[in-house]
């Protein structure tokens, strides 16, 4: 009988080795899945993991990894603070939508200005929009003790309806012949969020993700607030003795995660997505929750996890298009990878022992 024994300290070796082990296991079991579907497993695995980074079209796809990872990282960084403190913001998707709508609305209100300065109030609007949307569950929690999981989740659906209304109503392109969707920011350069270096895929959202990743690291490692957040998560009672106000922490953590989600939405709508549409959101707010935990709620880990997640999306898409695999098979494969990443992680904190006496 095998049993787990807790390590006194997390293993430095396994900290880095577990992702590798997980990927190898996923390749093996995913390979079996692909083989059972009549495709060559080696080709599929190579298409997913190798081609986006080193393959024939890597010059384009490498940039796309950043495009895809940017919003995931940005949202996950914000969420990780709250998750550390035991504050459950499940509704980042809604905050992302509202941030995008607010950012776009400010930009479109000044159409067709040529002043690049407009981009600054747009960023502010995106931040504030996401922040305000997150403040609803935060204030309901602090004032009325209402559970933030339910409120933030329900507000995603409300945000989606507002998005539909924006796309078919108040932000509709007046020159769009009545069709839904806002003006496209790619033809409104003053307010757009373009690629900063051609072909790199890096836009202001990616820059923000990296800068905020650094700030989050400093906050958690050096700042008193970081200490309070960690303490509240691990020992809520001790935190109270230390004079940490739980309500202040809720407002702070929800606010930061909402603002960052809103910021991600604003960068996405003005950059890669280009316009407000009925289906503008694609689930980044939910996927970012996985990214946050996959990165062990650590800023560096989150950046890596975001990139891995992006790789499976981009590579999976390539496999699907080029090899005719159903996109459902890719989804199963992604699920497997996450299972293994999460499962193998046990080796970091525990060692496996043959059970002796007990």
């Amino acid at each position: 009988m095998l049993r787990l024994e807790k390590r006194p300290n997390p293993s430095q070796f396994w900290l880095f080795a577990t992702p590798v082990v997980a990927v190898i296991l996923t390749m093996f079991f995913g390979g079996l899945l692909f083989a059972s579907m009549g495709t060559n497993p080696f080709t599929v695995i190579k298409t997913i993991f190798w081609d986006p980074v080193f393959g024939e079209f890597a010059f384009y796809l490498r940039g796309q990894l950043l495009v895809k990872a940017g919003p995931l990282i940005l949202i996950a960084l914000g969420l990780s603070l709250g998750f550390r403190a035991g504050i459950w913001n499940i509704g980042a998707e809604g905050q992302y939508i509202i941030g995008a709508i607010c950012g776009a609305a400010v930009g479109l209100a000044f159409y067709p200005t040529e002043s690049r300065l407009i981009f600054i109030p747009m960023i502010a609007a995106g931040l504030l929009g996401g922040w305000a949307w997150a403040m609803i569950p935060a204030i309901l929690k602090t004032r009325f003790n209402t559970n933030e999981i339910l409120v933030s989740l329900m507000l995603v659906y409300v945000a989606e309806t507002i998005l539909a209304k924006a796309a078919t109503g108040f932000l509709k392109n007046p020159e769009g012949m009545g069709f839904p969707g806002s003006r496209n920011f790619s033809s409104y350069p003053a307010a757009a969020n373009p690629e900063l270096i051609a072909g790199s895929g890096l836009h202001w959202g990616g820059v923000a993700a990296i800068v905020i990743g650094g700030l989050a690291y400093v906050l958690l490692a050096r700042h008193i607030i970081g200490f309070q957040i960690k303490l509240s998560g691990q020992a809520p009672r001790a935190a109270r003795f230390h004079g940490v106000s739980p309500n202040r922490l809720v407002v702070l953590c929800m606010g930061i995660s909402g603002a960052l989600a809103g910021l991600a939405g604003m960068f996405e709508v003005t950059g890669p997505a280009g316009q407000i549409t009925i289906d503008f959101n694609v689930g980044y707010g939910f996927t970012a929750i996985i990214v946050a935990f996959l990165g062990r709620l650590n800023p560096v880990g989150i950046i890596l996890a975001g990139l891995i997640m992006a790789l499976t999306y981009v590579g999976g898409e390539m496999a699907s298009t080029n090899l005719g695999l159903p996109s459902a098979a890719i989804q199963v494969f992604q699920g497997m990878l996450l299972f293994f990443l999460l499962g193998v992680d046990v080796l970091t904190n525990y060692r496996i022992r043959m059970a002796g006496g007990k």
Partner: protein, 363 residues
């Protein structure tokens, strides 16, 4: 053409396109690619597009290779999928949802030698972008006639997805043609605010039924409304939407609108093969075979069936237009004078209900 391809791509710094042996006159082999908004298993919109793709394969065999990508969101992901398809050697790419419009035009500008075909849009910014759509409102007219004749309660219903011109056009056509044969008819519209949520669609159908509606048309993708109608044991009828939904033929489904993209896809890929391909703005209806009226079942009396088929044939022959004046807008202002037919531009951007429909379009 091959050389231009190489030059153009190199100039853009996007590397080499897969070399296809193309001749100025035509091509020996075409790679046709399809971008889908949903899964093929949605049983409706994407399913029908995929049937069209399979028809292309069947029609040309070895001379075509098809590739497709399911579940592509209408966002930055669409641009990436289009770029990798173009890089990957696709000669013609069909983008099968309205939301891909800007992405299609943006990528088309970067790949002048790849043909792009965008469904249901209106932008053709570069010479290699064509648009195509189907005149679903023609099918709605036939459904409206059947609804007007078949309703006993004089209450007919329509489940709308989002308030966009495509849907509004269908509602107006359905109502006008029901009203033409039954002046007492009243129309109830329910907005589901989703394209696909079977349970919600069922609820919407149930709400209509509970309030006395006995003919239901829907503009969402699943068969849930028909299943709900089936529970009334024949009291309520409905129509198949997007696909034939023939599994309800012995029940409430009295007819259907079938989106048949196959003729268009086969024609366009064929044109690329034989070198006659040109930019197009296609909006075909019953006449072009893109909108098919599914079999009208025995539940419909023979004379109504004959009348519906006559309407269908008149639309196909061009002797009848579902939007023929005099028609006023909902607010009473004049839209079409007596005898005038609706210009395509008005239809494509339709943002108003016609006179007689109650309720507002969400704005």
């Amino acid at each position: 053409m091959l050389r231009r391809t190489l030059l153009a791509s190199a100039a853009l710094g996007l590397g080499l396109m897969a070399a296809t042996s193309s001749l100025a006159a035509g091509m020996d082999k075409v790679k046709a690619c399809f971008v889908y908004i949903g899964p093929i298993g949605d049983g409706g919109w994407t399913y029908q597009h995929h049937q069209g793709a399979l028809a292309v394969q069947a029609a040309y065999g070895d001379k075509v290779e098809i590739a497709f990508q399911e579940n592509v969101p209408e966002s930055a992901d669409a641009e990436r999928v289009l770029t990798t398809m173009a890089l990957g050697g696709c000669n013609i790419i069909f983008t099968t949802s309205f939301g891909y419009m800007d992405a299609t035009n943006a990528i088309a500008a970067k790949f002048p030698d790849v043909k792009f075909e965008h469904a249901t849009g209106f932008k053709r910014d570069s010479a290699n972008v064509s648009t195509y759509n189907a005149r679903f409102y023609e099918g709605r007219a036939v459904q409206g006639l059947i609804a007007g004749r078949m309703t006993k309660s004089n209450k007919i219903g329509y489940i709308g997805s989002f308030p966009i011109p495509e849907v509004i056009m269908g509602i107006n056509s359905y109502y006008l043609n029901a009203k033409a044969v039954n002046p007492a008819v009243e129309l109830s519209v329910v907005w589901a605010f989703t394209w696909f949520d079977p349970a919600k669609e069922a609820d919407a159908a149930k709400a209509l039924i509970d309030q006395g509606v006995d003919v239901i048309a829907s503009h969402t993708d699943s068969t849930a409304p028909l299943a709900e109608a089936a529970k009334t044991n024949g009291a309520v009828i409905g129509f198949g939407q997007a696909s034939d939904m023939s599994e309800y033929k012995d029940g409430p489904r009295v007819s259907s609108i079938i989106d048949n993209w196959a003729p268009y896809y086969v024609k366009r890929v064929g044109a690329l093969l034989d070198g006659t391909y040109e930019q197009a703005d296609a909006w075909e209806g019953i006449a072009g075979g893109e909108v098919e009226i599914g079999e009208i079942t025995a539940l419909v009396p023979a004379e109504v069936k004959a009348e519906a088929e006559a309407l269908r044939d008149a639309i196909a022959a061009g002797t009848y237009h579902p939007f023929t004046g005099p028609i006023n807008k909902q607010d009473g202002s004049a839209w079409l004078a007596a005898g005038a037919t609706a210009p395509d531009g008005d239809l494509l951007g339709m943002g108003f209900f016609v006179e007689g429909i109650v309720g507002d379009i969400p704005q």
